[in-house]
Every structure is written in C-alpha cells, then in structure tokens.
C-alpha cells in the first residue's frame, strides 16, 4: 500500500485529473463501503467461531463468497493503482472459497505431509475467512474515510486490533474456564481443612488381651497447602531482600568496570536461568546437607504418629534459599532503577552538607527507593507462590504441620501432585485441583495487581524530572 500512499499524498494537495478519475467521496461510496465493512466483520467473526467449533463450518464457508463480493464492490471504486491489488484479492478469495467448498465435497480430512494428524477442512475456511475478512475491513474503512492519507492510517487499525483482541480473548477464555471449573468446588470448608491421610494402629487391651485397633484420618483440604504457600512467600522474601538491595545499591552506586559487568551479567543470567536448574540445585544442596550437622534445618524433621523422629525430604528453609535466587534479580534491578532515579540534587546536597556515605544511603537513597523495593518484593512473592519446578522433587503434602522446618508444600504443588502423584484418595483429590488453581490465581494476580498499582502510584516521582 505504500505506492498508494505516495499517490494519495500528492492527490491531497493537487488533484491532477490525469492521475485519478475515480471519485473518492459521495453517497454511494459511503453506503457501499459501509456495507463492505459490515460484511467483512461478519466474515472475521464467522471465521473465529469456526476456529473453535467444527459444526459452524457453514458460517465460514458462507462468508468466503461474501468476502469476494466485498472485494468486487471495493474494486469498483478503487483508484487505478490499487484496483489491480483489490481484484487480485478478490480472485484469490474466490479461489479459496472454491477450494473450501470443493473440500466439503470430499471427505473430512486433509493429510499434512505424513504428520501424525489429519487436518479438518474447516481449518482452511476459518483461517481464510479471518484473513480475508481483516483485509476487507481494512480496505473498506479506507474507502469509507475517503481514500486520503489519514484514512490509510486509520484503515490499518483492524490489522492490529483484531489479533490483539484475539490474544486478550484467549486469556479471558482461559481464566473463565478455570473459574468455571474451580469456583463451585471452592468452599470455606475446603480452604480450612488440612490435608491429612494418616493411618496408624493402636494397641488397646480388651478383657486383658491386646488387640490392634486401626485409626485412620482421611480428609482432603487446602489448608496446609495454603499456609505452605504463604510461608514460602514470606521466607523467600526474607532471604531475598537483603542480597537484592545490596546488589542493586552496589550496581547503582559503587561498582565500576569489571566488577559491575560481572555482577550485572550474573544477575541477568540468574534471572534467565531455568527453574529446572534451580530444582536440580536444591536436590544437590539437600544431598550435601543430609550428612552434615545442619541436616535438621535443611532436611526438616517430623514426628509421626508413633512418636518416631524422621528426617523430612526438604524443609522450607532450604526451598526458600533456592527460591530467593529467583527473586534476587528482580529486587536488584528494581532497586538499581530506583537509586538511579534519585535526583542528583538530593544526593549531592547531602554530601555537600557533610553527610557520610552511610548516612546518605540510609536516610536519603533507601527511603526514596523503598516503593521500588516493595513492588519488587510483591512481584517476587507472586513468583515464589507459583513455582512448582523448584520444589517438585522434594515436596510433600505437609500433613505433619507447616512450619519452617518441615516438608515443603504449596498450592501449586497440590495441583501438580493431583495429576502426577500417587494418591490412595485420588478421586477426592483430583476435583480439587481447579479450586486450588483458582486460589492460586487469585493470590498471584492479586499480588501482581497490587504491585503494579503501587508502581503506577509512585511513578509521579519520575515526572518531576
């Protein structure tokens, strides 16, 4: 369309009659392009519906000839340089309509280069309907607005808006499905019941003879997973905040040259590192700690129903130490940004008035950076709450209590465990996975929303510079 832009920018100021003989405004133009726009929109809608429902195939198939009609109408009023293009689009869309309708006469499948799939014919018609619909919307908007240069800009909006709406719509569908499946199962009782599956035998004396009585507690709930998630978030923030602030202040204030680039690179790579590698690291750390005097702290311990002391599989302390490595880069980057945004008048004024570096740091720089730090800690909490991959090798269901020295558990682990764990009560556990997902979603999205609102609220400080 850039050729069209060149000709129409010329024709905006002077209309040599030899260049374009076609009127670009008038009653019939307005009506025909409005009708064309509406038909194209219908084609896009029909195509997207067909993308999800095979039965709605007739919608997309019917809209393809409609779109060809749209292009014919537009070609009638297009000026000479674009007419060829529009006619080409019309023929191409007619061809696709013929192919799609012809495919309908065939049985329902297409082969795809020997891949392990058989594509349904509606894939062709839906994609074609959406594609040609967008082109038709764009061209008809252009003509509706009078074929000027400004019109060309506005007519490109559908090309950007429709895919963006598609992406946002998919998110809405995903979240809606999660809520639909999970909200019915989410009751107050579920949230406040801890998950327990304990079976033990007790020896009682009956008429002088010892008999074994079996006890069993079997209940499914999300309480200890919920508490585990909160504990994990709290411990991770605790472990990550000081190194994060230190690294950020170091990068912004004191480091130079090789030191600064090493620090920056290692923080970037820590951020980019896969959570899988951090999970492997956690397994190694626990392996080293197992024989050492710190085994109680790192491995966790619990007393089972008969009072025996057992080492756990990995405590909250160990998991939070490794998860903190994920959160430190977030805090460091945010702190560095906050430190750099401090107006230099404040810093230089403080030093000129004789304050030491420590005084400047604690009284001026850190309070200024505090909102950044809080935002980063909240975002890091959201990430710690949702991470399964780090703890998936060592986590258990936390039925022996939730405190920093027992087995790790978390809401996200519950979802993973419901699918891949071996539960004797799997039929009770599995329906809860969507409810746990809803809880987790509310937690993480709430934290992110609060963090973003805080960041937006404190952005006024940057506007004064």
């Amino acid at each position: 369309m850039s050729r069209a832009s060149q000709t129409t920018t010329h024709s905006q100021f002077q209309r040599p009659s030899a260049v374009s003989q076609v009127r670009t405004s008038g009653r019939w133009i307005t009506y025909s392009s409005a009708v064309a726009f509406i038909l194209s929109t219908i084609a896009v809608a029909a195509g997207s519906v067909n993308l999800f429902f095979n039965e709605a195939e007739f919608l997309a198939l019917g809209s393809l000839p409609l779109v060809s009609f749209v292009f014919a109408v537009l070609a009638w009023r297009a000026d000479s340089s674009t007419r060829a293009g529009v006619l080409g689009l019309m023929l191409f869309s007619l061809l696709c309509a013929v192919v799609a309708i012809g495919l309908k006469a065939m049985p329902e499948y297409l082969f795809a280069w020997g891949l392990d799939a058989i594509a349904h014919r509606s894939l062709v018609s839906s994609v074609a309907a959406v594609g040609f619909g967008i082109a038709g919307m764009s061209l008809s908007l252009y003509q509706y607005m009078g074929a000027t240069a400004a019109a060309e800009d506005y007519s490109k909006y559908p090309i950007v808006v429709i895919p963006a709406l598609f992406a946002l719509g998919i998110y809405a569908l995903l979240i809606g499905y999660l809520l639909w499946q999970g909200l019915p199962g989410l009751s107050w009782e579920v949230i406040t019941t801890p998950y327990t599956w304990l079976a033990w035998e007790e020896m009682v004396y009956d008429k002088g003879w010892p008999i074994w009585v079996e006890h069993e507690i079997k209940q499914v709930g999300l309480l200890n997973h919920m508490r585990g998630t909160l504990l994990l978030m709290g411990l991770t923030s605790l472990f990550a905040i000081l190194p994060g602030i230190g690294a950020g202040v170091m990068l912004a204030e004191y480091a130079e040259g090789f030191m600064a680039s090493t620090l920056r690179h290692s923080i970037t790579i820590l951020r980019a590192m896969s959570v899988f590698i951090l999970g492997l690291t956690l397994v190694s750390v626990l392996n080293y700690a197992a024989g050492s005097p710190l085994a109680n702290v790192f491995m966790g311990f619990y007393y089972d129903t008969s009072g025996t002391f057992h080492h756990g599989h990995g405590s909250y302390v160990a998991a939070s130490l490794v998860l903190a490595l994920l959160v430190i880069p977030v805090i460091a980057r945010s702190t560095e940004e906050g430190c750099r945004s401090l107006p230099s008048e404040l810093r230089e004024g403080s030093l000129a008035l004789g304050a030491t570096e420590g005084h400047t740091l604690t009284r001026i720089i850190l309070p200024w950076t505090a909102p950044n730090i809080v935002t980063a800690v909240l975002l890091g909490c959201a990430e710690a709450a949702g991470s399964v991959a780090v703890i998936m090798f060592i986590a258990r269901v936390g039925q022996f209590g939730v405190h920093p020295l027992t087995d790790v558990t978390s809401l996200s682990f519950f979802i993973f465990d419901a699918r891949y764990g071996t539960h004797h009560i799997a039929d009770i556990v599995r329906p809860l996975q969507f409810s746990a997902g809803v809880l987790l979603l509310m937690l993480t999205m709430g934290l992110s929303a609060i963090a973003l609102a805080l960041r937006h609220h404190f952005a006024w400080r940057y506007r004064t510079r």
């Binding site: 999800f52 594509a119 950007v160 598609f166 190194p243 492997l280 430190i328 949702g386």
Partner: protein, 328 residues
C-alpha cells in the same frame, strides 16, 4: 577539613555501605558460580563414563523402558527446540500486535490499559496454564487435527499411527504445549516490544513524518526496523522462558523416547529436556548416591543451561548488528 584528621580505621568504618553492599552483592554471584559448578560436577560422572558422543546420540531408553542405560539426549534437545519454534511462531505476531496497539495505534483508554492488563496477566504462574492443557487439546487440537469418527475404509496412508477411535487420541502434543507456552510468555514479550518501539529513535520517526509519509509507512519502514534490536531481545526472553519451562511441558507434552517420526511432527508427544531430566531424577531421593540416571539428569540441566547461554549470546550478537545497522 575534619576528615583529613581521621584515622584510617575511622575512615574505613565510615565507608561501611561499600563493604556491606559488596558482601551482599557477592551472594548472587557466588550462587551463580555454585549452580554452574554443581551442574558440571554432577554431570561429569556420566560424561566420563559414556562419553559425549553417546550422550548426544539419538537413542534414548531409560531403565523403565528396556532396562538398559542409554542416554542419548538429542531427541530431548530437538523436542525443546520444536516447542520453542511453535511457541515463538504463535507468540511473536500476537505480541507485536499488542505492542503496536499500545504504542503506535492508540485507541484511547484501551491502549493505556493494555500495558496494565498484560502486567497483571504476567503474574499467572505456569501451573495454571498447565491445567488448561487438556481443555485446549479437547477444544481446539483434537477437533481440528484428529480424525474423529472416520470409518476405517477412509484411512490415511501407512506411516501414520492408528489408535482405536481415530488417529491421535493423545491429549498431549507439542502443539498444545506450544500454544500454552505462547500465552505464557506473551505478557513478558509484549511490554518489552512496546518499550523497544517507543525507544526507537525519535528523530528518525519525526523526520519521516515531517517529510510527509503516512503513519503506517513510517511505522513499517522506519520505526520497526529501528526497533528490531529491541524486538530481538524480547524474542530471546520469550525463548529463554520456553526452554526453561518444566511444568507446562510436563502436563502438555508428556514423555516420549525417540525423535518424532517426520522430524517436524508437532502432533505427537515428544521428549523434552526438562521432562527427561525430571523423569531421571524423580526416582531418586536426595540421599541417593550418584548413579547413571542421576548424573544424566544433571546433564540435561547442563544442556538447558548451555542452550540458554547460546540463545543469550546469539541475541546479543544480533542486537549489536541490528543496532549498528538501523539506528541513527
């Protein structure tokens, strides 16, 4: 001045912020060094035992399958690369559209709120996307790509696996994983692309507009080429997140042993570095001694790390070239 009269000890004590923040800043560096060193030392065992050639071959069978220890990692590597390709193919155009919507094609409050909505969406943890794997497969992939209800007389040619009830009853395939991963990384890529487009040289854009070009022409011929280095950075970030993802791959792709039969087959479950590694390690408690499977699991972690470094270096190189070529 008073500070000239200070003793050295006093002066050192006064600059405590440097030392404290330096000590604290050493923690991430030391942790990074520990992580890499740990990966290398743990995978040294199997590299020494079996050799790199064996480890990078195409045959993989774990002790669960056949009782032999063969750890060729190439199928897993290829599976990861496939999922990156599918996810990027879906996510890149959508992210670009969202970024353009919020920077160059403003629509009032819609484009102002796109950034905020994406920020909230970026907080969704991967396990939630993994939960959707089955519904995505049942709503989109299986109606469109499986031959439900085809009578046997109309069978496709040989070479395609035939299960009872139709081709591909799998609800796990690389396509499903790629689609979910695309929507996982989209809220991270779109704001980065938005920043790149906004940060592309203003003088070039305003010069182009002043010379009479339309906004569309400016955007497609001036702004986007100037922003290409930032766009590459966004793509690299998305790729890094995709290769590192464990949970979506575990739920959506499952596990398979060999290379997919035509190489680009995204409709069947393929092995992936993280799923193979998790499978190798999950059987071992942290107190197990070093064995073949455990070491091979760490080797997959090392491969993920190496892949991440390769992507970072490649992206850095491309960014430098693009910046030199296109910016003012």
């Amino acid at each position: 001045m008073e500070s000239q009269g200070l003793s050295t000890a006093r002066r050192v004590l006064r600059s405590w912020p440097r030392f404290v923040s330096g000590a604290l800043a050493l923690i991430p560096v030391a942790a990074f060094a520990f992580i890499v060193g740990n990966l290398v030392t743990e995978s040294y065992f199997i590299v020494a035992e079996k050799g790199l050639g064996h480890l990078l071959s195409t045959e993989y069978s774990s002790v669960y399958d056949t009782g032999r220890y063969i750890f060729g990692m190439l199928p897993a590597l290829w599976g990861t690369v496939l999922s990156v390709l599918v996810a990027m193919a879906i996510a890149a155009p959508l992210a670009l559209a969202l970024a353009l919507l919020s920077s160059e094609f403003p629509l009032g409050f819609i484009s102002r709120s796109v950034r905020w909505v994406l920020g909230v969406l970026s907080g969704i943890p991967p396990i939630i996307y993994a939960l959707m794997a089955i519904v995505v497969a049942q709503v989109f992939v299986q109606p469109k790509f499986c031959a439900w209800g085809i009578p046997e007389t109309e069978l496709p040619p040989e070479g395609m696996t035939w299960y009872e009830g139709g081709i591909l009853p799998h609800d796990q395939s690389t396509l499903v994983a790629g689609m979910l991963l695309a929507f996982l990384v989209l809220p991270f890529m779109a704001p980065m692309m938005d920043d790149a487009i906004r940060g592309a040289s203003r003088e070039l854009k305003e010069a182009s507009l002043a010379l009479g070009a339309t906004r569309w022409h400016t955007m497609s011929n001036v702004v986007l080429p100037a922003a290409l280095s930032g766009l590459t950075g966004a793509l690299a970030l998305g790729a890094l997140k995709v290769i590192g993802d464990v949970i979506v791959i575990a739920f959506a792709v499952g596990y398979a042993s060999g290379l997919p039969s035509p190489l680009l087959d995204i409709f069947e479950p393929t092995a992936s570095l993280t799923s193979v590694g998790a499978g190798l390690l999950a059987a071992f408690s942290p107190r197990a001694s070093v064995g073949f499977s455990r070491s091979a699991g760490y080797f997959t972690g090392l491969l993920v790390f190496v892949l991440a470094i390769v992507i970072l270096l490649l992206a850095g190189y491309l960014q430098r070239r693009l910046k030199a070529r296109y910016s003012a």
